[in-house]
């Protein structure tokens, strides 16, 4: 039994820098294995949809743009993603990967949370189609 058993620690702390890391002015390097933003390689994708099926958060949509050409575009919802990397494992051709340094993904508006991957023209078509679908939906309501 003693009083003030933590005296040693407490006293030493007087002469020691606080352990608090003052993010964001002070940053630690992200670990190599960190699971950040998902990236998609259009060249490798075979459109098998396994990632879409396995995604626990419905964050991925792979859309067929050209059947003959086997060309796809991808819409990825950052805000739904749980960063579990199951899609990366499920993807047999290795078209998906997770960035280890893009992890500060907060934004003040919703737009940056929907990410489009693929050919520029395809993405445009996808976005136009989406805008029309939204307009229709709004009219129905």
């Amino acid at each position: 039994m003693k009083i003030g058993a933590m005296l040693g620690d407490v006293f030493r702390s007087l002469f020691r820098r606080p352990a608090t890391r003052q993010y964001p002015s002070e940053r630690k390097a992200a670990p190599q294995r960190l699971r950040g933003k998902l990236h998609w390689d259009a060249e490798k994708c075979t459109g098998c949809q396994l990632c879409v099926k396995d995604c626990p958060a419905q964050a991925i949509e792979v859309v067929m743009m050209d059947k003959a050409d086997k060309r796809f575009a991808m819409r990825y919802h950052l805000d739904r993603c749980t960063y579990c990397a199951q899609c990366v494992v499920s993807c047999r051709p290795g078209a998906l990967s997770m960035s280890s340094d893009e992890w500060e993904l907060a934004a003040t508006s919703k737009e940056p949370f929907t990410v489009y991957y693929g050919d520029e023209a395809d993405v445009e078509r996808l976005m136009v189609g989406l805008a029309e679908a939204n307009a229709d939906g709004a009219q129905e309501e």
Partner: protein, 304 residues
């Protein structure tokens, strides 16, 4: 004229309020550093106060509104009034009369009493339990604290604060009355409800204790009152036990040294339950101080 200035600005009034906040900051910063944290920036207490003053004061239903609004004012007024009798910044007190020590001590208790009444005034169960604990604690530390501060008075043969201060200047009472010093310091912690005596406001049990229902101005005034009391308490203990306060430099050095001691004590202990607090004060605090009194009187009598 100069008296009014002294009352309103320096060393009374504004100086006490600003000083109180500065001491609160110093206390929080020190505890934070002892816990290896960064702690608040220097303007945090001021920012808190300004924010609280600007906020809506919610008067809960089922309370006596007059009491609810009046108690914080009385509490702060009591603390500020007590400030005029103590040698703040090492200067002579603004007012002084024989027996002002007793008046000061009772004025200092006003804050605790008001806190307790404020808790009892609201219909919140946490407040009620908090109020009960606040008042229970008041009755447990008050007598030993009083006795501990009367020890120097006895030695100096005066009940007037500036005379005791002058006497203490030549006599380091810390050396002759060590028990009194410890009891006074720990009594101050009880008065300010600092850990380990923070059962009346134990957040993990009763949220914020007696002041749970307080917001806005009322809370700001109570907090200011407590800050002022921290400063006055430190001044009293430093002036009585640490060789008196003769000039501002002495004042700051001695009170800050005391504050460092307080922050060590705060960070080294777990919270005591209210029954343990009461037991500690009556079983040890009061008895030890009384024993020391007895010793002082006997030695004084023999020496004569």
């Amino acid at each position: 004229m100069s008296e009014i200035l002294a009352l309103l600005f320096f060393p009374g009034g504004l100086f006490v309020l600003a000083g109180g906040m500065a001491y609160e900051w110093a206390d929080r910063k020190l505890v934070a550093r002892l816990q290896n944290r960064v702690g608040p920036r220097w303007f945090q207490p001021l920012a808190d106060t300004v924010k609280l003053l600007a906020k809506e004061e919610v008067i809960p239903s089922g309370v006596n509104a007059f009491l609810f609004l009046g108690l914080p004012v009385v509490a702060l007024a009591g603390a500020l009034t007590a400030a005029i009798y103590v040698p703040l910044a090492g200067l002579n007190p603004i007012y002084s009369f024989p027996g002002d020590l007793i008046v000061t001590l009772y004025l200092l208790s006003l804050l605790t009493l008001c806190t307790g009444l404020a808790g009892a005034n609201t219909a919140n169960t946490f407040s009620l339990v908090g109020a009960t604990r606040t008042l229970t604690q008041l009755f447990s530390y008050e007598a030993p604290f009083l006795l501990a501060l009367l020890g120097p008075a006895l030695a100096a043969g005066s009940w007037q604060i500036n005379q005791i201060n002058a006497y203490a200047h030549d006599h380091w009472l810390l050396l002759t009355q060590p028990v009194g010093f410890v009891v006074a310091l720990i009594g101050l912690m009880g008065k300010l409800e600092l850990p380990p005596f923070d059962a009346p406001e134990a957040e993990t049990e009763i949220v914020a204790g007696a002041l749970t229902e307080y917001s806005g101005r009322g809370l700001a005034l109570f907090r200011l009152g407590r800050n002022v009391e921290l400063m006055i308490g430190l001044t009293l203990v430093a002036s009585f036990y640490l060789g008196g306060l003769g000039n501002p430099l002495e004042f700051f050095a001695k009170t800050l040294a005391l504050l460092l001691g307080l922050s060590f004590l705060q960070s080294l202990m777990a919270r005591l339950r209210i029954d343990q607090t009461v037991g500690l004060w009556w079983r040890y605090g009061a008895l030890l101080v009384l024993a020391q009194w007895l010793a002082l009187i006997l030695i004084g009598g023999l020496a004569r």
